[in-house]
Amino acid sequence: MKAGSNLEKVFESGQFAVTAEIGPPQSANPEPLTHHAKMLKGYADAFNLTDNQTAVVRLSSIASAVIIMREGVEPVIQMTCRDRNRIALQSDLLGAAALGVKNVLCLTGDHQTFGNEKGAKNVFDFDSIVELQVFDQLRTQGKQVGGEVLKDPPKTYLGCAENPFATPYEYRASRLAKKVAAGADFCQTQAIFDMDMFEKWMDEVRARGLDKKIHILAGVIPMKSAGAARYMKNKVPGMIVPDHIVDRMKSAKDAKGEGIKLCVEQIEHLKTVKGVHGVHIMAVAWEDIVPRIVEMAGLLPRPKFES
């Protein structure tokens, strides 16, 4: 065991993992986090706490993690390279570990021009792969990137994200290979709507033997409306939503119900894809639907381990 997190145990036990996302609030109020943690407890193995996602200022992911941990829920904190240099990244990794946060997802981060602080000076001292490499060295050798050796290195389970739907497509499996080489233990993918394309990517991943070295969590997003489908198709860079999905959402009488059904079907299918070790449900601003989806997809009860 690298960190002994619940998520790590689920993977190591060979079971199909489930993670979901909790977006920290745009306020200093911990209540929404507590509320979601209580509601979602037992429906996923760990919950991602986004790090100022789309560069919108929110309650910090590490603080959010501590808040949901009080409810007995396991966090995965996202750490982007956008806002922190190597000093801050390493310091926050130590801090998070000291607070009992065991899963860290390394991301380069959305550019600040997407957010509500467009005038910000970004950092990007690292990209996500360098971040992984540095964190891996820190946890395995206790060695900082600058060379100094720490006495009590952090015990952290390291994750990454990968997007099979971003260009150049031919390079996407290589990117995952680099992340594996850099030390990633698990990978959450961008939301999958184009199954054929995803499976093509998985073929490449398996051909390189990467599925044996990293636990892949396939990303899904339940959609509330045809508008959401169109928005993701047209406005979100690096997302591919095939027309048949948009059409299906459009022609549905009960769009929400259809969105849930579609998501469950996707999960059922993803369970059969060789090398996929779990799903990551990104119910953006629709967190309360997660229990239903997990239940309908036959993913209950979630495994429990002696701590």
């Binding site: 550019h111 360098v130 997007n163 260009t167 080489a181």
Partner: protein
């Protein structure tokens, strides 16, 4: 070259408003090539400001001139009298020119007429784009001759981020994704192996992050004795 852009004229007019005598100084180097502060741009600016003054009934003497390279003291020195004869100098060079004049005549006011933007190249007539940020440690031999530090919005070292769609940058859909370009170039050169392994943390100490940089070349520098002989202080 250094690519700059004229400041909005209202900003310039406001800057100069309190002064009676203004000298506008252009530069025939980079900023002339990028059509921001060459002879013609100086003349047009002076003319436009005069029209504005005529309209506002403001008495202000404005004259324009241009030097070969405003970042070099020797060229600036040639128009010293004109500079010192004015209340304020508006530099139509990049910030280097403006600072050179400022450093040479610290009591004299020198204001910037341009916003200095980047190290860029003319892509086509009227279009300039950034290709270098002067990080001080060039790696483009490993990236197909394309700089990811300057040309990727996130300065990624290990390939494109997840927002690259249709080989364009998510930050500006008009701009090519640097890493898509690097991928294509390396594929063309049959050197894709270069981006298969992890590029480790970059040492930014050679960039501005390491503090203000001064480059020296000993063989080109004058010895104290030579300086004395040439009357250089």
């Amino acid at each position: 070259m250094i690519v700059a852009k004229r400041k909005p004229l209202n900003e310039i007019a406001e800057m100069l408003a309190p002064y009676k005598k203004v000298t506008v100084i252009g530069c025939r180097s980079c900023v002339a090539i990028c059509l921001a502060g060459g002879e013609k741009e100086v003349k047009m600016l002076v003319s436009a400001l005069k029209v504005k003054n005529k309209r506002d009934g403001r008495k202000q003497h404005i004259e324009g001139t241009v030097v070969e390279r405003q970042c070099e003291k020797e060229w600036v020195q040639e128009i010293e009298a004109q500079i010192l004869d004015s209340d304020v100098t508006l530099s139509m060079a990049c910030s280097l020119g403006a600072q050179t004049i400022g450093d040479m005549y610290p009591k004299h006011l020198t204001f910037p007429g341009l916003n200095t933007g980047m190290f860029g190249v003319p892509e086509e007539q009227g279009v300039w784009s950034e290709k270098c940020v002067g990080c001080g440690n060039c790696i483009i031999h490993t990236t197909g001759g394309i700089c990811p530090i300057a040309r990727c919005a996130k300065s990624m070292l290990n390939g494109p981020c997840g927002g690259s769609a249709n080989r364009k940058c998510e930050v500006n859909l008009e701009v090519d994704c640097a890493w898509a370009a690097i991928y294509d170039r390396l594929k063309l050169q049959n050197r894709l192996d270069l981006i298969e392994s992890v590029t480790p943390a970059k040492d930014w100490s050679t960039s501005h992050s390491g503090g203000r940089r001064v480059f020296e070349r000993e063989d080109a520098k004058l010895t104290p004795h030579q300086k004395k002989g040439k009357g250089v202080t």
